[in-house]
Amino acid sequence: MLKGHQSWIFENKPKIVGRAAIVGPFEGDGPLAEDFDIIHSDLYLGQESWEKAEKTLIEESANLAVKKAGLNKEQVQFYFGGDLMNQIISSSFAARSLNIPFLGLFGACSTSMESLALASFTVNHGGAKYALAGTCSHNASAEKQFRYPTEYGSQKPPTAQFTVTGSGAAVVSLEGNGPSVTSATIGRVIDMGISDPFNMGAAMAPAAVDTIQAHFRDLRIDPSYYDLIVTGDLAKIGYDIAKDLLREHRIPMEGTVYKDCGMMIYDYTKQKVQAGASGCACSAVVTYGHLLNQLERGELNRILVVATGALLSPLSFQQGETIPCIAHAVSIENTQAT
C-alpha cells in the first residue's frame, strides 16, 4: 500500500523465510566472519574467470536461501536480482541455471534493497507465494570493469573503497517464520556533482540522506522507532558527510544507532581497505548475514537498511560525467516481539 509520496507499507507482513550470505577470503578475515554461511578461500571459486566466479557466488546463495526456506526452486515464483556487471550478466546467467522466472534489476549497490523491496511488494499483494531477492559483487570483476586490471600497480587514494566479494539472497513469503519486511521507501536519483569514481561515498551520501528523510516523512515516524539504521556502502568519508547532512536537515538521529555496512565488514587496522567497503554484496551480506542474525537473537528488533548505489558506468566517468546516485530503504522487524 502506498504511504506518503514514495513509500510502501507491507500490511500483510511478508517474512524473510530463508536467507544466505556467502563471501570471499578477504571478507572471511573480517570481523563479521561468523555471520556468513560460506566463506570461500579461493577468489576464483574454482572457476576460470572472475565473471564466472561472481555468477557462482549468486547461484550458491540463491540455492542456499531456497534450501534454508525448506523449499525447492520450483516453488519459487519470481527471482528479483541484479549486480554490477555490464548487462547484469551475473544475475541473468545465474537465473539461467536457477530456472526461476526472472526480473533483472540494476540499482548498482542499492540492488540489495531494491530487490528485497520489490520481492516483498509482490508477495504482500499476492503476486507470488515465494519470491527470491538476491545480489552479488566480486572485487576482481568490479576492479576489472570499472578500474584497472587487478594486478596493476596503481596507488589508490584514501577515499577509495574496496568492492566486497560475496552474495546475499533472501526468500520472502507470507507463510513461514522469520523477520518481517514492513515497509520500503524507493529513492530518487540524486546527483550532487561528484565525478571522482574513487570517492563514491561522497557521491552517494546525499542520496542516502534524501531517502532517509523521505522515509520518515512518508511513514510519519521518528528515527528512534528503529534500533539501528544502516546505510549500504558509504564508508568512512560518505558516512561522515551523511551524518553532517542528517544534522543539517534536522533529522533527529540521537534516538537511534546509525552505522554503515561499508565500515562493518573489514577490520581497518589489519585490512588495508582505504575508506571501507562497497559493492552490491556489501549491504547484502551484512544484512542477510550479520544484521538478521542479530534480529533473530533479539539483539535488535527493528532495523532500517538504506542501500546506496552509484549509477555510473565505466564509460560515463571517462567522459567526465558526474555520478548520479540512488538509495532504497527497507525496514525489517521482529514481528513476534511486538
Binding site: Y148, G153, Q155, M192
Partner: protein
C-alpha cells in the same frame, strides 16, 4: 574543473565544498619519500645488473643497457604474476610506476586480466589497454624532442639503442 563548477547549481557547489572538506588529503610528502626510496632501489638494482653484465658478461657500457632492461622487465612480470607488484605499488606509488618495471607491470597485468577473453582480442588487444597510451605519448614526446634537436643541434645524430 573551473568550467564544470560554474555549471553547477548553488546547492551542488555548496555540497562540493562540504565533500572536499571531508576528503582526507593524499599524503604528498610521505608519497614522495616512498617513491624516492622504491624508485631509487629499482634503479640501484638495475645499475647492479648492468655493472654485472659489464664485468662478467663482456658487454660494453653501451650494450649492457638492453639485457639489463630485459631482466628488470622479467622480474616485474614475475612479481606481477605472483600478485606482489600491486601491493608494492600501493605503498610506493610513483616509485614503482615510473621505472620500466611499471610499464612491464601494466602490460603483464592487462594480459593476465584479459586472457579469459581469448588470445587475440583478450591478451593481444587487452595488453595495450594501459600501455598503449604510454607508447603513443612517448612517441609523440620523442618526436617533439627530435624536432627540437634537429632545429637547435643540427649536427646531432642520436645514439640509437634504448
Amino acid at each position: 574543473m573551473g568550467n564544470k563548477n560554474e555549471k553547477m547549481t548553488p546547492v551542488q557547489q555548496k555540497y562540493q565544498k562540504l565533500a572536499q572538506s571531508k576528503e582526507p588529503k593524499r599524503p604528498v610528502w610521505s608519497n614522495c619519500i616512498r617513491a624516492f626510496l622504491i624508485g631509487g632501489t629499482i634503479c640501484l638494482i638495475g645499475e647492479a645488473i648492468r655493472q654485472a653484465f659489464m664485468k662478467y658478461g663482456g658487454f660494453t657500457e653501451k650494450d649492457a643497457g638492453n639485457p639489463t632492461v630485459a631482466i628488470l622487465i622479467l622480474l616485474s612480470v614475475i612479481l606481477t604474476a605472483l600478485g606482489v607488484y600491486d601491493k608494492i605499488a600501493q605503498w610506493a606509488g610513483a616509485g614503482s610506476a615510473v621505472p620500466v618495471t611499471g610499464f612491464a607491470n601494466s602490460m603483464a597485468s592487462s594480459a593476465i586480466e584479459h586472457r579469459s577473453e581469448g588470445t587475440v582480442l583478450g591478451i593481444g588487444a587487452g595488453m595495450f589497454k594501459l600501455a598503449g597510451s604510454v607508447i603513443v605519448f612517448g612517441t609523440v614526446a620523442a618526436f617533439i624532442i627530435g624536432l627540437i634537436y634537429a632545429i637547435f643541434v643540427p649536427g646531432y645524430t642520436g645514439g640509437g639503442g634504448s
